[in-house]
Symmetry: C2
Subunit: 497 residues, 2 copies
């Protein structure tokens, strides 16, 4: 076998292990009987350990090193694969094993205390374990190395190439522009959204969700939907991409937009090139780009008028008693109501980015040492007063609301906002590229959009980094212009501004 | 770490991999979207390869060898584990890698042709691939080595210690005694079982099945039931043992007795000692003993009168229209109707053993070379005429009906009959050991029986071989007496003989 083929075969084996882990994890969320948890955790840990052993096996590392040194015989895609693997290995090599073990123990400890703290509604229980974890994360950033800000190298894990320097500029622009805009909205009458909060029986919700998924192109021959406490997308190959949803019988919104959101993620995964299974370029680009796909479908498509021109009739037909008296216009306004909330996951499309900005600024300060964990709750409340004009009632709806820090995921939050920003820029381009796109959507035909996304984004795998992909598709780097135009146009119309 | 602890930790890792494979396999039967099959097969093959690599890793083999040589410091259980691992390694060592690869290719080829042959209803399509596989299986027996008959060493994989010499005696006795008995039954009027073949809606069947499972002690906190084309039991640990069933809306029998049968398997797995996870003694003893558990519940309990004295009322309550006019006596006779069929899986409790005897004799002759594959169809028809007095209408209900040979599983069939024979002997002992057992069962209380099985069999794991376990529990080696007594008593009463 050529060295490159050996490299690829080895990576596919690792991918098989990772996907087996994913099956165990899916099964854990969807099917696991309560007593099954103990051995399941052990089994997942064993698979993870084996995958790590395979990835760091000396023969493999040597092979990648040689291919990295002398790539003369490689095609551009092959070179890209080797470069990405080399980058991953480099990252792993910089963290020695005792540190990795210590870090994972600190994560377990922090997670346990976060659960307890939430239960008791008391940040103090979480404070010390989090302090130790933040300390170790700062060490980690030093071990990995960075040019400008230690937070940069933490984001690198989720969004290759992104720097605080750029993000500061983007967030500043968004925050300045949105602050005034949202203030103007809040002076307008509050939109009535009671139509969304009636009794919607489970089976009818489930059926409507399935119809919606089929209609927007989610391939049920290469996936399935199940119920789980928190909706998620998971894939075992591009030919088995599963989603879950949650149904609240007293709110239709939860199910509808979790379906569309997860379908956005799943359409991306189902569109990745199956021939590149296991290779680095067979993967999604970054969390920001992944989130751009879910948010493009959820918001730019799924909370826009053309989409509901097509689907509102069938929603009414499923729930005639509940929605028969609600017009499309009323429904459209209800699903786009702007109202600040202390909880990120319950936020509207605009306030959402203040939630992320707050987390981003706090994380950055924790990592560069300008904020101490003991002052975290106060900083949180201060930021919420400043940006959202409200104070969380308690720790559970305040500083303890997210799991991310308890998992050691520092640098993850910004990818959520990036997702919306990329989504707006991509969608604006799609409208330019596809004649009559929104007319087609209002006829219930989203196929041209999916086709465009498949060609421009999904089928490319990880051939390019996010910034490069964005330039290729839109001819520009990521800019706030499209997101702000979208937001101001849509909500300006809804709120008569 | 002590050498023994290293040995055990390594085995647990292997077991984790095997159980991950089992999760992937369960998911494949229960959940897999059609396109998911391709990468799933590859993922399962990778896990299997890794488990094999771990089991044959030189360090591990050396460690087992040393512990096997010098077991002075080991407890009896520890010695037993080492002896069993040594036996497994010995078996693997005797088959060189090129042979194992060739054999697995022959199996794939045979399986594909078996599928085709079934589709076309033509044994000729299967003949040559099967011939090659039988040839390789004969080579395999030579490589593994044996004392008396090459078939002995094939059975060894499924039923340690069993020899043709003993089995010939058992089967001869059963066949002689049952032949006359069944002949007498067939002179009696045929029992009417139309009551079982009405329309029984799916949901009510499912609900009744769940009630039954709960009632006989299947622990839903350590398992779950799903639907699959062929019912099966699978376990990922003693704390996650899953079963599946199949529902035919025009027959109640399929669901009821597949539930009870699989529950019998599952109760065994749920009763295995969790502390011995991964160790050889943490496992079931043999396929014969496993099958004894499923058949004891299915037949000795689940097709007997006391059980239905307890449950028939609730079955009638679930299906008042269908069964309201059928008495317990009529129902009991219907579920025990004796009627020969050319198909093993549709057979009654008595004819079943002729099906197995036929396969046993044919397999033995194929393996010792006294029967050629080209004469297989004819031998099959001849045997069915002799033992069941019927000729299969075609290959699909004849020689192509079972998957076992297409999988290379020669030596497997006898364990089905052994299961019934052990079940009868164990059940007879339980009746002696537990005061008023059948009265309790007829009150819907099977807990004393489960308790007895847990203590005598399940919790022992693989501490003893089947023969030894049988002597310990019943004071005798396996004998046909109990099975024949059971059969003649029960069916003698039903058929007035």
């Amino acid at each position: 076998m050529r060295n490159y083929e050996r490299y690829l075969a080895h990576l596919r084996k690792i991918k098989d292990l990772e996907n087996a882990m994913a099956v165990l994890s899916w099964d854990k969320e969807v099917n696991l009987p309560p007593k099954g948890a103990r051995f399941r955790s052990q089994q997942m840990a064993t698979l993870m350990g084996l995958a790590h052993e395979l990835f760091t096996a000396p023969d493999f590392v040597d092979n990648v090193g040689e291919l990295h040194q002398d790539g003369a015989a490689l095609t551009p895609d092959e070179k890209r694969n080797i470069a990405l693997s080399w980058m991953d290995l480099d990252r792993i090599r910089k963290l020695d094993t005792p540190f990795v073990i210590r870090y994972s123990e600190l994560v377990s400890d922090a997670y346990q205390h976060w659960l307890e703290a939430r239960e008791a509604n008391d940040f103090n229980i979480f404070q010390e374990p989090l302090d130790r974890l933040v300390g170790a994360t700062r060490e980690k950033a030093e071990m990995l190395g960075y040019d400008e800000h230690p937070y940069d190298i933490l984001m690198e894990e989720f969004e290759t190439g992104l720097r605080c320097r750029e993000l500061d500029v983007l967030f500043k622009e968004v925050s300045n522009e949105l602050a005034d805009f949202v203030r103007a909205i809040r002076e307008k009458p509050v939109i009535d959204d009671h139509c969304l909060k009636q009794y919607f029986p489970k089976q009818e919700q489930w059926d409507f969700g399935l119809d919606l998924l089929k209609s927007i192109g989610y391939d049920f021959a290469a996936g399935r939907q199940d119920i789980s406490p928190h909706p998620f997308t998971i894939n075992f190959s591009p030919e088995d991409v599963r989603i879950t949803t949650r149904i609240d019988e007293y709110s239709i919104a939860q199910m509808v937009w979790s379906c569309i959101h997860e379908a956005g993620h799943a359409l991306y995964e189902q569109g990745l090139p199956p021939d590149a299974y296991g290779a680095p370029i067979g993967r999604f680009i970054s969390l920001g780009i992944h989130e751009s796909q879910s948010r493009l479908w959820e918001n730019n498509v799924g909370r826009a008028l053309p989409f509901w021109k097509a689907y509102y009739k069938s929603l009414q037909a499923k729930f005639p008693k509940q929605l028969g008296g609600t017009s499309l216009e009323q429904f459209y306004r209800a699903i786009n109501r702007i109202e600040p909330s202390p909880v990120r996951t319950e936020s509207d499309e605009l306030h959402y980015h203040f939630h992320i900005l707050i987390r981003y600024e706090i994380e950055k300060s924790l990592i560069d040492g300008s904020l101490a964990v003991k002052d975290l709750r106060e900083a949180w409340h201060e930021a919420y007063r400043t940006y959202l004009g409200l104070t969380p009632a308690d720790d559970r709806e305040g500083v303890l609301q997210d799991i991310h820090w308890a998992h050691g995921s520092f640098g993850y939050f910004p990818t959520y906002s990036l997702g919306s920003f990329y989504a707006a820029q991509f969608y604006a381009q799609a409208v330019k590229d596809i004649p009559g796109l929104e007319d087609r959507i209002s006829e219930g035909n989203t196929a041209p959009l999916l086709h465009w996304l498949r060609e421009k984004i999904h089928s490319q795998g990880r051939r390019y980094d996010a910034a490069e992909l964005c330039r290729q598709i839109t001819g520009e780097p990521l800019t706030m212009k499209y997101f702000l135009d979208y937001a101001k146009h849509k909500f300006g119309e809804i709120y008569n501004l």
